[in-house]
Point group: C2
Chain length 263, copies 2
DNA sequence: GTTCCTAATTGGTATATACCAGATTTCAGC
DNA sequence: GCTGAAATCTGGTATATACCAATTAGGAAC
C-alpha cells in the first residue's frame, strides 16, 4: 500500500488524524489507571502492530503524549508515565528543600558543578554590582525517585559569603545562609517563562534537546533590600506547578513599575 | 543511498544530529537579525534542498524551533519567526488590558463564547459556593497583530453580577466590575503550570494539538476575602512571561496563604 | 552465585515516497 | 482594473525501509 493519507474511506470530511486517535486511546488508559506512574508504555513497534499502523505513526502518537508531559522518555529504554507534579510556592520564599521534606517528598540533590566566576553584564545588573564582581556559582540537580525535576543554578556574592562552596551543598542553602552567615531572604523578584531546553540542560534533565521547559529566575534580597543571590531554576515542564498569593492593596510599593490598576 | 544514519564518515564519535545542526543554523539567522519577527522561514522543501537532506529531516529542524517557541507555524502557509513575549505581572492584579494599552501594545480581544452555567465540583470549591450555583462564563481570545496570545475563560457569580454578559466584553472587565458593580479585586490565589493544549484551545491559539502551553488559574477575592471570580488563561508558551514580587515577612505560614505580595 | 558475552529490544536518526487540502499566486478572459 | 479558474506552494498525514547505539534480558562458562 502506498501513502494513502487517511486510509480507507474517501468520503470522510476531516477525520481526527490516526496518531491523535491512538494518543487519545493511550491517554485514557493512563487516566483510568491501567497505566500508573513510572509504568512503561508499549514500545513504538508494539503500538504500530497493535493499531495496525507504521512505526512512524505509532511514534508520533507517543511523541504527542511526550510533548504534553503525560509521558517521559528514557533514551533507548522506553517511555514511561510521568509522576505527579510538585508545587513550588513562589510567595513563600522558604527553601523548597524544607517544604518538600515536610511533605514527605523523596528529594535528592546532586551538586553537578561549583565555580568562582566574575559577573557579566546580566548578572551584574541583577545583583546590582559592577561588572567583574566575584561571584560564587553552583549548579544542582533535583530529583524524586531518581526522576529529574529541575536544575538550579545559583549565584552568590563571593565577598559576602566567604568559603560558601566548602559547605555541603546537597541540602537547603537557605539554611546555610541563615545559620553560618546570618543572612535571610526578605523579598524576591521572580520571573517565570516557558522556553526550549539547551543542550546541557536537556542532558541533565534527561529530555530531548529543544523540549519545552519552564524557567524560573529570581533575585533574592535581604532585609535592607540589598540583592545577595540570583538563582535560575529550569524545570521539566510537566513536573512544575507554581503557586502565588497576590495582594492588590493599592498603597505599598516602591519599585519601578506602577501602572494604574483596575483589571 | 539507503538510510545511513550519520551520512559519510564512519569514525565520528557522536556527532550532533544533522537536524539539530540545521536548527542551530536557522536559530543563528534569527538571533543575528537576518530573520525578524513574523518573517517567513524557508519552507520544509527549501530547507531540505539548501542543506542537502530529505524533507523529513528539514522538517524536524523546523519542528525543533517550533517546539522551542522561536518559530510558529500557520497551517499550510509556512513557518514564521515568533514575536517577543508579553509580560504578565502576577502580583499586580492590574488589568492586563490596561497595562498592555499603556505600554502601547496592540491588543485585540475577541469574545468567542458566553454562557450561563452551574458550578461543578471544581468551580464550586474555587469560588467557595455550593455545587449548582449559577455562574456566568465568558471566553475571550487575546491577540497582538493578529497573532494569538492566550485564551481566557472567566467565571463570575451570577447573583452578584446580574446582566454582566450584556456588557461589551471586548474590554477590561475589571473596569466593568468596578464601575457598574462597585467590586474591585483585593487578593488573588494564582497557579501557573505547563501542559499540553486541548483540541479547542489549539484551534483558537492556532497551534498543533498537544503543543505545550502555559496555564494560569486564579481565584480573585474582594476586600472582605470573598471570592467572586475564577479565571483561567491558556497562553502560547513562547508568548508568556510572568513576573512577581514576593515578600517573606518571616513569620506567618497560615494555611490559605499569607506570605507573598506584589509589585 | 557471579561474570561475561551474546541476543534481542528499544528509541534515535535519516531517507524516499505518496497523496491530501488549505493558501497563495498567476494569468487568462472579461 | 477586476474576476475567477488553474497552477503552484506549503505544511499535514502516512507508509516503508535501513542502520545505529544504548540498554536489557538470556544463557553459557567459570
Amino acid at each position: 500500500m502506498d501513502g494513502q493519507g487517511n486510509t480507507g474511506r474517501k468520503g470522510d470530511p476531516s477525520p481526527r488524524p490516526r496518531f491523535l486517535q491512538i494518543a487519545d486511546d493511550i491517554r485514557v488508559q493512563i487516566a483510568v489507571g491501567a497505566l500508573k506512574e513510572h509504568n512503561i508504555l508499549p514500545s513504538e513497534r508494539s503500538v504500530s502492530q497493535t493499531y495496525g499502523v507504521s512505526r512512524m505513526t505509532g511514534r508520533r502518537a507517543l511523541e504527542a503524549l511526550e510533548s504534553e508531559g503525560l509521558v517521559y522518555s528514557s533514551d533507548r529504554r522506553g517511555r514511561f508515565v510521568s509522576p505527579k507534579r510538585l508545587t513550588y510556592n513562589v510567595s513563600n520564599m522558604v527553601s523548597f528543600v524544607g517544604t518538600a521534606q515536610t511533605n514527605d517528598v523523596d528529594l535528592k540533590i546532586e551538586v553537578t558543578d561549583t565555580a568562582k566566576i566574575t559577573a557579566d553584564a546580566h548578572l551584574a545588573a541583577a545583583l546590582e554590582q559592577p561588572v567583574g564582581t566575584e561571584i560564587l556559582q553552583y549548579v544542582r540537580l533535583f530529583r524524586t525517585c531518581a526522576h529529574p525535576i529541575f536544575v538550579e543554578t545559583e549565584y552568590l556574592l563571593a565577598d559576602r559569603f566567604p568559603d560558601f562552596l566548602d559547605h555541603d551543598l546537597a541540602q537547603s542553602t537557605t539554611q546555610i545562609l541563615a545559620s553560618r552567615y546570618g543572612t535571610a531572604a526578605s523579598t524576591g523578584d521572580i520571573v517565570i517563562r516557558m522556553r526550549g531546553a539547551g543542550a546541557s540542560e536537556a542532558a541533565l534533565l534527561n529530555i530531548a534537546a529543544s523540549h519545552a521547559v519552564v524557567e524560573l529566575e529570581q533575585v533574592i534580597r535581604d532585609g535592607a533590600g540589598v540583592p545577595f543571590c540570583f538563582g535560575r531554576q529550569v524545570w521539566r515542564g510537566e513536573m512544575a506547578e507554581f503557586s502565588a498569593h497576590a495582594i492588590v492593596n493599592g498603597r505599598d510599593d516602591r519599585t519601578p513599575s506602577r501602572q494604574g490598576y483596575t483589571t
